[in-house]
């Protein structure tokens, strides 16, 4: 239903997303993992037709077989909410503080589908139930500040589902939540995707959530896709040095606090910092921080190439000859 072919987004001489190719089918659950500046949010905004006006888009973005790369705002409005919808990170910021939760969720139904208030209220009630909000009738009358963080995120999910989208994009939906609430929201998104045969694009830097929620994974770094494959495969045996570093850098309390000499153990790190978009290194984006780089890494950019079944990586050490 959604296809990106060699898609890119740039601002002046800064590239936010480069030559990205992706295919999403109904019911797919795709995780996009990357740190700030990796291009993951720009990817998400592009899928909603919400890339900033200053952005230059290249390649092709197809939705339901239609080329939407240069679609106008009006064309996007016909698709948004009904085909593709988004759940944002900050539920407090994404909800209108002066409107009752129910009214917020009913609005897109009345605007996009011409439902009457009563029809919209009936659907909103069943949505509140579907996303696991207890006592939905009472919650619909409440304002965002009266709801807990987890409930706000559920309202936001109900809002995204208001017009039965075929694709739901969740941009760091759990980052602002407490760990045990985050777990429940992650599971909720998976359940909704299964029950509705709705595709889910789950953008996060939480590797544990990606492992739990998705079947496929894309790892992004410095506006490039660096690794792609089945989530279980990639997390169990990462190929790209960045993916390896990211997995190793997760704090792991089971290593033990101190070593044999009683000295505090340091955490494994990736050296350096994430590069700025207008100052990306030539060659591989990860060069300069990569622990295993060879001389060609700084001059030739590795392309994303197949490495084994259903698996792609962009690394000279694994994909052999390439310029």
């Amino acid at each position: 239903m959604l296809q990106l072919i060699d898609f890119s987004v740039s601002f002046g001489n800064a590239t936010a997303l480069r030559h990205t190719s992706l295919m999403i089918h109904a019911g797919d659950r795709l995780g996009i993992v990357g740190e700030s500046g990796s291009g993951k949010t720009m990817l998400a905004l592009s899928l909603m037709g919400m890339a900033p006006d200053a952005a230059r888009l290249g390649g092709m973005l197809r939705m339901d077989g239609r080329d939407m790369t240069h679609a106008t705002e009006v064309e996007w409005q016909a698709i948004r909410a009904r085909r593709v919808a988004m759940v944002f990170q900050e539920p407090m910021a994404a909800l209108n503080p002066l409107r009752r939760a129910g009214d917020t969720v009913m609005e897109p139904m009345m605007v996009h589908e011409g439902l009457s208030r009563d029809q919209a209220r009936t659907r909103a009630l069943s949505l509140f139930e579907e996303v696991g909000i207890p006592d939905p009738a009472a919650r619909m009358r409440q304002f965002p500040h009266e709801l807990s963080g987890g409930q706000r995120q559920r309202v936001l999910i109900a809002l995204a589902l208001a017009c039965n989208p075929a694709l739901l994009i969740a941009d760091e939906p759990t980052t602002a939540l407490d760990a045990n609430v985050a777990l429940k929201i992650t599971d909720l998104l998976v359940r909704l995707s299964r029950e509705r045969d709705m595709a889910l694009v789950f953008i996060t830097l939480d590797l544990a959530a990606v492992a739990r929620a998705t079947e496929h994974i894309v790892v992004m770094y410095g506006s490039d896709m660096v690794e792609q494959g089945l989530t279980a495969d990639v997390l169990a045996a990462p190929i790209h040095p960045y993916t390896k570093g990211l997995l190793a850098a997760r704090p792991d309390p089971t290593r033990g606090l101190r070593d044999a000499n009683g000295k505090r153990r340091r955490l494994p790190t990736i050296a350096g910092t994430v590069p700025q978009l207008f100052a990306l290194p030539h060659g591989c984006r990860f060069s300069g921080r990569c622990p295993v780089e060879v001389s060609r890494c700084t001059t030739f950019k590795p392309a994303l190439k197949p490495v084994g079944a259903n698996r792609h990586a962009a690394c000279h050490l694994h994909t052999g000859e390439d310029a």
């Binding site: 740190e35 700030s36 963080g149 407490d178 760990a179 045990n180 609430v181 985050a182 777990l183 830097l205 590797l207 544990a208 570093g245 990211l246 850098a249 997760r250 704090p251 792991d252 309390p253 089971t254 290593r255 033990g256 606090l257 000295k263 505090r264 340091r266 955490l267 494994p268 790190t269 990736i270 910092t273 994430v274 700025q276």
Partner: protein, 261 residues
């Protein structure tokens, strides 16, 4: 065993909420309820809990930004909340704080060297300000020449290094870190945690490390205190709390953090 660097005894803090009805008494929220703990030099105590559990209120009382309704905070045996203001001001150089958002806590219109030297000016250090600022920058892995740059010229991780430099410039004995790595990317977060451990080894710092992330807390803390609704539910050596949580709430946190052996 050495005397504790910091001792919190039965801390309680209540806030009066806006009244619901004109003639009814305003409801009272007990943000921190009878909580005690100690931190020794060179030791890290981690406080974990969800948002609203009272972690930050606890930090503010330890920093003497606000007074407890009951209980006391002893720093090297001195009660912070009964100390006369001029003496407290002098003592402040020994306990410093690192906040979550390094961009919000640095003045965007001032060179970072100015911000780092701010605590020195506050306690009236003169003459050695520049040398000590440069020293602090190098301690956190930056360069003396960075003192003339502005916050926007640095990445998030570097800004947090600057915030840490400002905290250690007074050569404190205690560092209070409130969600100090929560806003950072995973790969940068590990660097900052290592930096805190380096400084701890170098300066013998006691650290009060507040976080909602049990995996982070478990990786750097000697002891853990778990809070919920203002109450301390469980405390003990980190390894023990993670391996065999005694309170069901701790168990759900351990599970949610995906910590398993």
């Amino acid at each position: 065993m050495t005397a504790p660097l910091l001792e919190a005894r039965g801390l309680t803090r209540r806030y009066r909420l806006p009244r619901n009805a004109l003639l009814r008494a305003a409801p009272v929220l007990t943000a921190v309820d009878n909580t005690s703990f100690t931190i020794r030099a060179g030791e890290t105590l981690g406080i974990v809990g969800e948002s609203g559990s009272g972690k930050s209120t606890l930090a503010r009382m330890v920093m003497a930004f606000e007074a407890p309704d009951e209980g006391e905070v002893l720093f090297n045996g001195q009660n912070l909340h009964t100390l006369p203001a001029p003496e407290l001001r002098k003592l402040r150089q020994q306990f410093q704080m690192v906040f979550q958002d390094p961009y919000g806590s640095l003045n965007p219109r001032r060179a970072v060297g100015w911000s780092i030297a701010e605590p020195l000016r506050a306690i009236g250090v003169d003459g050695t300000t520049e040398r000590r600022t440069n020293e602090a920058l190098e301690q956190v892995g930056l360069h003396a020449r960075d003192a003339g740059k502005y916050p926007h010229e640095f990445s998030g991780g570097q800004r947090q290094r600057i915030a840490i430099a400002r905290a250690v410039v007074t050569r404190p004995a205690l560092l209070v870190a409130d969600e100090a790595v929560s806003a950072l990317d995973v790969s940068v977060q590990a660097q900052i945690l290592n930096l805190l451990m380096d400084l701890q080894d170098e300066l013998g710092l006691g650290i009060l490390f507040i976080s909602h992330d049990l995996a982070v807390v478990g990786s750097i803390c000697d002891h853990i205190l778990v809070m919920q609704h203002g109450k301390a539910l469980e405390t003990g050596p980190a390894a023990q709390v993670l391996r065999a949580p005694t309170h069901p709430y701790t168990a759900t946190l351990v599970k949610a953090a995906g910590i398993s052996r």
